[in-house]
């Protein structure tokens, strides 16, 4: 029996900052910035939020929708590039906060923006092999760009959690493949507060090469073509890249619109594809076919071929907030409040 998604939950912090407001501070043309990135605003975590609290909220939203004993969750993996500690796992905090401890395994994953989808793959393998009954895979981030850096316009916060199992599957994961190479397009060294990146180098040899090859490899492996899918979700560092990669691969705008959230909430890094997929599952019907492809700098892609099951009709989606409800529940802040919340201002004490 194959493994699949038994439940899912999303979380997006409530605060937003407008791209134009960031541009104003740095003397840039806000309208031009917003247009070239196809991003209008990005989410900002509250001063008491971090990757752990976001992961916990997403996990609890997943558990609200399904009648599972948390003690049956045998593995918790949290993928992020902004874990609160360098040493001390986020996953153990999450496991405690959902009541899954102590008889389980847990670990943090790190692979830029694709750590969350890699966590899904690990859970699939452990479920399929019979090692665990359910696995919890989370992609969550509170990413930071250096003040004034182009990344500051998009680096945002959010996450989604997936409970993977064999029983009560609402969306079957038919197949998954990956594509990985050593590509230094984006990095952050130990002790550095903000990441560095290779500027334009992040496009063609990184994002496009990996997503295109991974997507093609998946479709060849399962014998599908773009028109076989109702929905496609691609990693979305901005609003433009996923549109362009979809076009290159032969997907239409209609296929990617539902899962494209970056224009409103920015790039949630490890949360991006998990959140996009959650937005699709919020509206998907039995029989719908979904392709989801992540990208993590450094660099690699994970691709998933998913079929929505009849079980989704009995699944109480309303017990947790939908992605669109989270997107629409917002409060705009100005750059000063944003800088305070993100600790870009230091107290003189």
């Amino acid at each position: 029996m194959s493994a699949g998604i038994v439940s899912y939950g999303a979380y997006i912090p409530r605060y937003r900052i407008d791209v134009g407001e960031i541009a104003r501070v740095w003397g840039a043309d806000g309208e031009a910035r917003s247009k070239s990135l196809a991003v209008y605003s990005k989410s900002v975590p509250g001063p008491d939020e971090d990757t752990a609290t976001i992961a916990i909220e997403a996990a609890r939203n997943a558990l609200r929708r399904v009648n599972i004993d948390p003690k049956d969750i045998g593995a918790v993996f949290v993928g992020s590039e902004s874990h609160p500690y360098v040493v001390k796992p986020t996953a153990s905090i999450v496991a405690e906060a959902i009541g899954a401890t102590p008889y389980l395994t847990a670990a943090d994953y790190e692979f830029a923006c694709k750590a969350g989808t890699t966590a899904i793959q690990t859970c699939m393998a452990m479920v399929k092999s019979g090692m665990i009954k359910y696995g919890l895979a989370i992609g969550a981030d509170t990413s930071q760009g250096a003040p004034g850096d182009p990344l500051e316009y998009t680096a945002s916060a959010g996450g989604a959690a997936y409970i993977i199992g064999k029983e009560g599957v609402i969306a079957r994961i038919n197949h998954t493949v990956s594509y990985t190479t050593d590509t230094p397009d984006f990095w952050r060294r130990e002790g550095q507060k903000y990441p560095s990146h290779g500027g334009r180098f992040t496009g063609e040899p990184a994002y496009f090469k990996h997503i295109i090859n991974c997507t093609k490899h998946l479709m060849e492996s399962v014998g599908t073509k773009p028109s076989d899918y109702n929905y496609a979700v691609f990693h979305q560092p901005n609003g433009k890249f996923p549109m362009r990669v979809a076009k290159i691969l032969g997907f239409t705008k209609e296929q990617i619109t539902t899962g494209l959230l970056t224009p409103y909430i920015g790039n949630t890094y490890s949360g991006a594809v998990p959140l996009g997929l959650a937005a699709v599952l919020d509206v998907a019907k039995p029989g719908d076919r979904i392709i989801a492809v992540s990208f993590g700098s450094g660099a690699g892609s994970d691709a998933f071929d998913i079929t929505v099951e009849d079980e989704i009709e009995n699944y109480p989606r309303h017990m947790g907030p939908s992605v669109m409800e989270l997107v629409e529940n917002y409060k705009m802040v100005d750059y000063a409040i944003y800088a305070k919340f993100r600790r870009k201002i230091h107290l003189g004490v």
């Binding site: 509250g46 001063p47 008491d48 405690e96 309303h318 907030p321 409800e325 529940n329």
Partner: protein
């Protein structure tokens, strides 16, 4: 905060685990070994229960002179929340403006950072409360702020 003291209470602090007296049915948070109503009769009858985290604001105050670790959040709201199971807990109300808070307001528990031992120390997580955004569609739901 001392790390061992914090660590011992992680279970109840993260998940709002209290105790219920099986003699009189009263629910307590934080957990108690003996029911203050039933005294010795309750010995061995105190059952651990996970609270729903839903409740309403019983009383609140807006704090303008912050304590340590809350400088970035001023002004902020501290409230006594009456949980649906009965116990009252003191906690911060977040994700809403102080002007939105009122007595009787429905809230639900979330886990947030409650402090840290400086930039190199332990981060403490604990419950806070957010407004229960009422919506036919979801537990959190949609707030039309435009």
């Amino acid at each position: 905060m001392a790390i061992p003291r914090f660590w011992r209470h992680i279970g109840s602090r993260y998940n709002l685990v209290g105790t219920k007296c099986k003699v009189c049915g009263k629910v307590y948070f934080p957990p108690r070994d003996v029911c203050p109503v039933c005294h010795r009769k309750s010995l061995g009858s105190m059952e651990r229960v996970k609270l729903s985290g839903s409740g309403k604001i019983y009383s609140y105050t807006v704090i303008h002179t912050p304590q340590k670790d809350f400088e970035m959040q001023t002004p902020y709201v501290m409230a006594i929340v009456e949980l649906d199971e009965g116990p009252r807990v003191t906690a911060q109300i977040v994700d809403c403006d102080p002007s939105e808070v009122h007595i009787g307001m429905r809230v639900r528990a979330v886990l947030r950072r409650i402090g840290e031992d400086g930039e190199g120390g332990i981060i403490y997580y604990g419950y806070k409360f957010v407004p229960e955004r009422t919506s036919a569609k979801g537990a959190q739901g949609h707030l039309s702020v435009k």
